[in-house]
Symmetry: C2
Subunit: 369 residues, 2 copies
C-alpha cells in the first residue's frame, strides 16, 4: 500500500507519533503519562436520529501509566501502536492475529508475557482505533476475508485493473482493506448494488447474468458481510451515488444483517461513520413474500424459540421501532410462525429468483426502508 492518496485527516503514522510524543512529554515534565480513550460501552452509544446511524457518544476514560489497574493496558496500547507504526512505515498490512504475535513477548527479567491471548490484543486494537480516530484498515490491520463481486464496474486494486464484468463464475475476491490508496473506482454503468446474504444465491444470479440484464453490481459477504465488503459498499454508495438493496433470508439473522449494513452495530459504533449506509433498502425476503409469490408451505421453516426472542429484540431497536412497516414485517413473521431461506425460491424453479422474484421487486419498488 502506498501512502499517496490520503484523506485530509492527518496520516495514521503522524497520529501515532503524536500520541507517543505526548506520553513522552508528560514523563519528562514529571507528570503521570496518560491518554484518553473514548468509551466503547453501551452507555456511550446512541442512535443518531438525523444521520440515521448508530454513533458513539463523547464519553472518554483516561488510561494511566501509574495506575495499578491500567498499567498493563497502557503498556499494551503502546506496544500495539508501535507495531502498527512499523506496518505503516513498511507499507505492509497484517491480520489482527499476526499483530498479536508481533507484540507478544516475555518481559525481560520476568515470566510475564505482554499478551497471553489474542482476546487481550483485539480490544486494545479497538481502543487504539477510537483513540486515534483511525479505522483498523488505516492501522494496516485486517480481520477475516469473505465475499466476492461481479458486475458493471471496473476497479483498480493495488494497481491492477479489475473488470468486474469479466470475472467468470468465481468473481473478484473482495479484499479486507479497500481504502482509497488500495482500491480506486473506474468505469461504472451499474444502476444499483445488490448485496446477497449467501454465496449460493450470488452464484445463481451470476450464472444467470442477472447483473448484466439489470445493470448492477452483485456482491456477497458469506453471511454477515465482513468489514471489507461493508466498507467497499459504503464507498460505492457514497462516491458513485448508487442505491444499495439488501437480499437476505427472511429470519431474524437476515433482518440483523440488513440492520448492521444500514445503521451500523452497537459493538462497533465508532465505525458507523465510515461503514453504515443509511440509504440501504431491504428488497427481501419479506414475510409477505410467502403469499405474494405463492411459496409452497413445505419449504418454509418453523421459527424456533431463539428466533422468536431475537425477532422481538430487533423489533425493539430504536431504528426499527419508529417504523410502522418494519413492525408489520416482523410481526407478520412472528404470526406466521415460519421463516424462509433464499434457497427456498428454488422450489418455484431453478431461475425463479433471477427471472421473476427480483425483477418484480425492482419494478414495483417493493422495498422496505
Amino acid at each position: 500500500m502506498s501512502s499517496s492518496k490520503k484523506p485530509v485527516r492527518p496520516p495514521t503514522d503522524e497520529k501515532i507519533i503524536q500520541m507517543a510524543k505526548n506520553v513522552r512529554l508528560q514523563g519528562l515534565a514529571g507528570d503521570d503519562p496518560r491518554f484518553n480513550v473514548p468509551s466503547r460501552t453501551l452507555a456511550n452509544v446512541n442512535f443518531n436520529e438525523v444521520k440515521r446511524i448508530i454513533e458513539m457518544g463523547e464519553g472518554k476514560t483516561a488510561r494511566e501509566f501509574f495506575n495499578l489497574g491500567q498499567s498493563k493496558k497502557f503498556m499494551q496500547t503502546m506496544l500495539v501502536a508501535e507495531a502498527c507504526k512499523r506496518l505503516v512505515d513498511a507499507g505492509k498490512t497484517n491480520s489482527i492475529r499476526d499483530l498479536y504475535y508481533m507484540t507478544k513477548h516475555t518481559i525481560a527479567t520476568t515470566r510475564e508475557n505482554t499478551f497471553d491471548d489474542q482476546a487481550e490484543s483485539d480490544p486494545i486494537i479497538e481502543d487504539l482505533e477510537v483513540t486515534l480516530d483511525s479505522l483498523r484498515e488505516e492501522l494496516h490491520l485486517f480481520a477475516s476475508n469473505k465475499g466476492a463481486m461481479v458486475g458493471e464496474i471496473t476497479v483498480v486494486d493495488g494497481g491492477d485493473v479489475i473488470d468486474a464484468r469479466r470475472m467468470g463464475t468465481g468473481g473478484w475476491s473482495v479484499p479486507s482493506i479497500v481504502e482509497p490508496n488500495v482500491i480506486q473506482f473506474r468505469e461504472c454503468e451499474a444502476k444499483f448494488i445488490l448485496l446477497v446474504e449467501k454465496d449460493a444465491m450470488w452464484r445463481r444470479l451470476n450464472e444467470d447474468k442477472f447483473w448484466k440484464l439489470h445493470h448492477c453490481i452483485l456482491i456477497h459477504g458469506g453471511g454477515q458481510p465482513p468489514r471489507g465488503v461493508r466498507r467497499l459498499m459504503h464507498r460505492m454508495v457514497n462516491e458513485l451515488k448508487l442505491p444499495l438493496y439488501v437480499f437476505v433470508d427472511n429470519d431474524p439473522w437476515g433482518y440483523y444483517i440488513y440492520s448492521v449494513v444500514k445503521q451500523g452495530s452497537i459493538s462497533l459504533a465508532y465505525e458507523s461513520r465510515r461503514m453504515a449506509i443509511p440509504s440501504a433498502r431491504f428488497i427481501g425476503l419479506s414475510s409477505a413474500d410467502v403469499q405474494k409469490y405463492q411459496i409452497p408451505d413445505e419449504v418454509t421453516i418453523r421459527l424456533e424459540d431463539t428466533d422468536i426472542a431475537r425477532a422481538k429484540e430487533i423489533m425493539a431497536y430504536p431504528w426499527f421501532q419508529g417504523k410502522k412497516h418494519w413492525q408489520t414485517e416482523i410481526q407478520r413473521m412472528l404470526s406466521s410462525k415460519v421463516k424462509l431461506e433464499l434457497e427456498a425460491l428454488s422450489a418455484k424453479g431453478i431461475t425463479f429468483a433471477s427471472d421473476e422474484y427480483l425483477p418484480r421487486k425492482l419494478k414495483d419498488k417493493d422495498f422496505l426502508d
Copy 2:
C-alpha cells in the same frame, strides 16, 4: 455451463436417463425395480498402496422399491436424479441446499414430505454420485465456496479470461465448480503451486508478491480447502505437471489438511480419484521449525488433550504409519508439547515468511513427503 467439452465417459444426463430406463424396464417386466449403490461405509474403504490414495472398495448394496426399509430412499434417489437432470438440461448449477428445496414437497393425498431436512437429501446426493460414478459437480451441484488464487497463470472461467498475475490484493475467487467445461488453463509460467491454509498468510505472501519472485501459483482455501480448490489443484497438478506444496499450521488440523489434500478423505473416498494429489508435499510448519528458525517460545501454543489424541490418531493412519519421517514429525510435536500457527512467523518480522522461511525451505527442498 455448456456441455461442449465432455470427458470420454458418458455424459451425466445420459447416465441418469439410463438409470431411469433400467428402473422402468424392470417395472414393465414385472420385476422389483432396484439399482445398486456402492457402499459408502468404512468397511468398504481402503488405502491403495500403489496409487497412494484412499479408495472405495467394490461393495454394493441394492436399493429396492418393494422393500419397506428402502422404499423412501428409492423414491428420494429418483427425485434427486430428476432434479439433477433438470439442472444439466437447463445448463444451470445449484447449491445442495437449493437441491433440497427443489425436491421437497408434500406427497399428494398424504401429509408426508419427500424430504424433511437437508440432512436427508445430502446423503442421497452422495449415493447418486457413487451410483452414477459422477462427481457432484458433474451433477451440476456445488457445496460451499471459499478460497482465492493469484499467480503466474491465466485461466478461462466461464468464457472470461482471468489473468491471475493482475488480480490485485483480493485475487480471483475460486468457484465451486471447476470442471473443464467451465475452467480452462492458458499461459502458465508457474513452477509450483503453494497452498496456504489461511487467508491471512495468503494475503501476506500476495502483498509481498511472493508468487512473482518465486514463480508460483498462490492459493488458499480458508482452512480445510473446499472441493472447488481441491479439484482445481488436482487439475493443475495433473494437466500442467506442477508440484504442489502445502503450507499449514503445525498442529493436528494442519497435518489433517495435508493428509486430505494428498490421500483424500475416508468419508469421501469415492472422490479421491479426481481430488487426491499423492504428489503433494508438506513444506511446513514442521515441529522442527521452532528450533531450526529460532521461533520464540512465547508464540508457541500448548497442546490440548484433544490435540494429543488427534495427533495419535493421525500417526496411526496407514499412509503415515509406513513413513518414518512422519512418525518423527508428529512424535516431535507430541514431545515438545506445543503447536505453532502460521501467524507466529510474524514474531520474527513482518515479511519473515516471504523473505526467509519459505525461500530457505524451497532452496533446501526441506519438504515432508
